[in-house]
Chain length 331, copies 2
């Protein structure tokens, strides 16, 4: 049986209320009592029962993190950012993934907030809909969306338009004018923004936009890239470069298949990815790509949500972070 406030109170000859006040550093406690209680607490190796405390205070000191899928390097890196910052913040992270779940994000969230009385939620998702987000807002638990701009909820995201623009600008600067573009059907708003950035860059440089150069894959894995290479090869006019806002793994798939078919990268086909996942440095040629500040997004999210929980911040926070164009060998 773990030590409770009562045990300490008994030994110290005071009430458990007094002990509680000492433990929580409340005022109006004599120095003498405080010392005595603290000493006993230490002796007995006391840890407050967070469950009981949570019941009384209606605070759980826990933050739910809802991720779509732990198989994604992007998600894991954001999570890493959250965790490494959270170290000093002392909230417990409850981890949930929604892959293959019958519940929607918002249902899960609702259940969490009622069942677990979580103090806040971070949702890592680029595809969540506005309707879903409204449910988050209505639950009156601080929540943040990572990876997607939205108007009704706090969020941290990157300037995808600019990120894509940087990529296209670079390729055009290298003399390319037939640039295929591989988007993903499962990335929602950020994908639209990237495609807009791609088009804006073309327009700014007077390069004609060609619908036939736009390819869409259903997912964002390496296999998708391998499969899509055939489509690229069949394109007329033949592209000399491919921008892959669908993400680095797709880009890597394309590189793999291109090499297998003896097309030199970047000489025959330049390739630019998106995300800057760890694998971008592994592939040969290493992948030129648009880096998303994943750790920073996680860092911002956890800091902001804790600030909200603790009342240091209020109002709608929309944080846009810049991407960074990383030049390597593939373009």
């Amino acid at each position: 049986m773990p030590v409770t406030l009562k045990d300490i109170a008994k030994r110290a000859g005071v009430t458990s209320a007094t002990v509680s006040m000492v433990i929580n550093n409340k005022p109006n406690i004599s120095e003498e009592t405080r010392k005595r209680v603290m000493k006993i607490a230490k002796e007995l190796n006391y840890y407050p029962n967070v469950i009981a405390r949570g019941l009384a205070t209606r605070r759980s000191n826990a933050i739910g993190v809802i991720v779509p899928n732990l198989a994604s390097s992007f998600v894991v890196r954001v999570l890493q950012g959250i965790k490494s910052t959270n170290r000093d913040l002392d909230y417990t992270v409850l981890l949930f993934d929604t892959v293959g779940q019958r519940e929607s994000e918002s249902q899960l969230f609702q259940r969490l907030s009622r069942e677990r009385r979580i103090d806040g939620v971070i949702l890592i998702s680029s595809t969540v809909t506005d309707d879903e987000l409204n449910i988050f807002r209505d639950e009156s638990v601080p929540s943040m969306v990572v990876a997607r701009k939205c108007t009704t909820l706090d969020c941290v995201y990157v300037n995808n338009e600019q990120g894509a623009r940087d990529a296209a600008d670079y390729l055009i600067g290298k003399g390319h004018s037939v640039i295929a573009c591989v988007g993903s059907a499962k990335l929602g708003l950020p994908m639209e923004e990237r495609l807009a950035g791609y088009r804006a860059s073309l327009a700014a440089h007077g390069v004609p936009f060609r619908q036939e150069l736009m390819i869409t894959v259903d997912d964002d894995g390496m296999a998708d890239g391998v499969a899509v290479f055939e489509k690229i090869r069949a394109l007329q006019p033949a592209p000399t470069a491919v921008f892959v806002p669908a993400g680095d793994m797709v880009a890597i798939g394309i590189i793999k298949e291109a090499k297998k078919q003896e097309r030199r990268v970047p000489q025959d086909l330049a390739i630019v990815g998106y995300d800057d996942l760890p694998a971008a440095e592994v592939i040969e040629p290493s992948l030129t790509t648009v880096r998303q500040p994943k750790l920073e997004m996680g860092d911002y999210a956890i800091n902001m949500i804790v600030d909200k929980i603790e009342g240091r911040e209020s109002g709608l926070k929309q944080k846009e972070l810049p991407t960074k164009f990383i030049i390597r060998e593939s373009a």
Copy 2:
């Protein structure tokens, strides 16, 4: 204010005790009352407060997962295995990482069990010491170690000796007899087992063991591999193959540097890794390696711990899983 048992009780004209019994499917409730209460509970969208319930039952329905570092693909994959199985088990996962923490694993665990009243703990760590593990055992909270064999606590691990043997057998079978071996200083017991397997294989085939072919890196990243290549190049006699029990990322680093220095892999230098991380398929040539069943380890761990918590299993469980030798291009 979320709905409570009392709210339902009032509307149903019964006591909250009755409602509690209905919600928990206890016997001796009239069908009529049960129906009425359930209907109201549904109408009010009631979710039991797990915190309050936990206080009463001394069960939190939460499992702590302690990981050394989310930057490791190995760890993330095990975590993924835990999560995807846990879906049907309905325990909440509290995630903790110990990287850069002042607390040891066992201290963290002790705190968790007292503060959060977690029902069980999964520790993913190959390096935890026996002394540490004894503290786990003493806390009387079901706990499991993933990735390391141990005698005092439940665990799930792989047959590292056999895994390494498979690798060395394969290389010897390919005609190699000067096989360098790159170990890691931070992998503890499993590393010793792997090295033992390597030696056993040499011995079994009458290939002389040479201490000078043994290299140790401090960590397990790609950079370590790049750095270690110089050492390999300097070895006398010059190895024709390298076995890298330190892990795939180190092996990948070696491949990268080998290629840069225009040594062909596998013709000039065959390379075999350990783990089978996602990156093993990205590198060119793709990496021949010893696969650890990461998802399966996670799956076993969560299932076993839940079985222990719910009393379906007891006694010390030591689960050894087989590795699988994956032949790709690098050897």
